[in-house]
Amino acid sequence: MTTTASTPTAAPTRRHTSDRATAENRLGLKLVAPAVALMLLVTAYPMLQALYLSLFRYRLTTPGEKRFVGLGNYVTALTDSLFWQDLFNTVVIMVVSVAVELVIGFAFAMVMHRIIVARGLMRTSILIPYGIITVVSAFAWQFAFSLNNGFINGWFQWLPWISPDTNWFGAHWPAMFAIIVSEIWKTTPFMALLLLAGLSQVSDDMLEAAQVDGATWWQRLYKVILPNMRAAIMVAVLFRALDAFRIFDNIFVMTKGAQGTESSSFLTYRQVIEQFQLGMGSALSVLLFLAVLLLAFLIVRLFRVDLAQARGEA
């Protein structure tokens, strides 16, 4: 404001713009404040609470015996084979379902992109798995795989490893298979729609040029389509991988964690809600949170996902 004296005419306009900017800044902050406060209230505060509780041996049924144990809960969790078994299950479910969805989802997107008639019917049917409750999907598939009431055994008994009395929920890998099928069925539409959006950004001119130059279908796919959809693919993989890592509903309904099909989320839930081990449960919550953070970081780094660029914000 020292310039006011020397250039009296310029000052008001400058102050005007800066006032305006300040006002805009203030209005912006006011408008986002409620949303930010709500998001933090339910995530950041409880997470800090979990961090604190994780340092105690604290069982809700015997609250008087709350005792500080330092990092004891973490040591117990990390040295327990169950923790690693469940983490392994979670990673297997995540990797397999995302990989399969990527392939099926891409095929769906290709068909949806090319089809001219019955687009409405197609969209409707693809959105039904997306909108359906995960618990319902889990029931539908649990019953389909059921020994007494399912149709899978009857329909697929021509396959050498399936017979009318294959008990899908009687062993680890078949049960995992059923869980993964439900997960894939429910979430492929999401993947397909994100890929479809990416596919529609690949320019037809480029594809035609490639075709004129004699590129085969596979060459066009690998050299033109996929590289041009990279951003869309990465965003879809990131979202779905983090989503699949949190798998809970399907396991809860289909096996309740039996046959060693528990996931990390399920283990955390079981400690807190069924066993009331709030201290141990909190430690597992923190570990799960760190795992998700690490996973997000790895995916973003490894695949160099640029979300801002993918959304056109850069």
């Binding site: 902050l29 408008l31 339910v42 399912g150 959006a197 809600i273």
Partner: protein, 276 residues
């Protein structure tokens, strides 16, 4: 070449329909099987005898109707509030320059990826302490927080596309600022807001982890949580046809919404994540 790829597309089309709809047809078929048939074991896809008794039973089940009421109430209220707050935030992000804009977007993204189960313990503890455990607000508050990110991202993508100059143009033509907002901006923004509302509603309607952890009776238990309690003592031999019937009933609103608003849902899903 043309003919072959057209045939391929048709084959793909049929395969997609079968893949997407088969499980839905399957629970529909199960819901018409008499309980006696599923108790004995009925590996056929279609019922041997058809009955609507399951539907009569499920509608007469007070626990189920109460859960349905809770689900509608909780999902609608959280959708309304989340979309309201998200609209403010998205307007600011799309139209105003302010410090911390990127921070808000990153926070929203981080929360969208947050492992919900991590919050079950602390929220369980907090809600019991302040009396929110097993109440509607006890679920509405976290549902709002977890749907805000999706709503903010979807809405800010929509708002960025709105030709805001039209507001000024209307004012130049003599409209008051309220009229300009009401007659020009609201109709342009409404589709985006509506889309965000549908996606938010789906989330709240679907949510299971918190619904099962933060409730203990039918006072606030929503349908997904209630369904998992129908299972009975033996998880490997549940009352198939009744569960299927309940599943069909809760899928009806989803199908109706999808049939009416499929275009909007697709636009909303893709605009939030990929440049479109």
């Amino acid at each position: 070449m043309r003919g072959r790829s057209a045939a391929g597309i048709w084959a793909g089309f049929v395969l997609i329909l079968v893949w997407c709809l088969l499980p839905v047809v399957w629970i529909l078929s199960l819901s018409f099987k008499p309980v006696s048939e599923t108790t004995v074991g009925s590996p056929h896809f279609l019922p041997e005898t058809w009955t609507i008794q399951n539907y009569k039973d499920i509608i007469a089940n007070p626990d189920f109707t109460r859960a349905l009421f809770n689900s509608f109430g909780i999902a609608l209220i959280s959708t309304g509030l989340a979309v309201l707050f998200a609209t403010f935030a998205a307007y600011a992000i799309a139209r105003l320059e302010f410090r911390g804009k990127r921070l808000v977007l990153s926070l929203a993204l981080a929360i969208a990826m947050f492992p919900v189960v991590s919050l079950v313990g602390p929220l369980f503890d907090m809600w019991r302490a302040i009396g929110l455990f097993n109440t509607w607000p006890g679920l509405i508050i976290p549902y709002m927080s977890f749907t805000l990110p999706l709503a903010i991202w979807t809405l800010s993508a929509f708002f960025r596309e709105i030709p805001w100059e039209m507001e000024q143009a209307a004012q130049v033509d003599g409209a008051t600022s309220w009229q300009a907002f009401r007659k020009v901006i609201v109709p342009l923004a409404a589709p985006g807001v509506f889309t965000a509302a549908i996606l938010t509603f789906f989330f709240a309607w679907n949510e299971f982890v918190l619904a099962i952890s933060l409730t203990s009776t039918t006072a606030a238990r929503t349908v997904p949580a209630q369904l998992s309690y129908f299972v009975g003592p033996d998880p490997f031999n549940p009352p198939y046809s009744q569960l299927a019937t309940a599943s069909v009933v809760v899928t009806i609103p989803v199908v109706v919404i999808v049939l009416l608003f499929q275009r909007r849902i697709v636009a909303g899903l893709t605009s939030g994540a990929v440049k479109g």
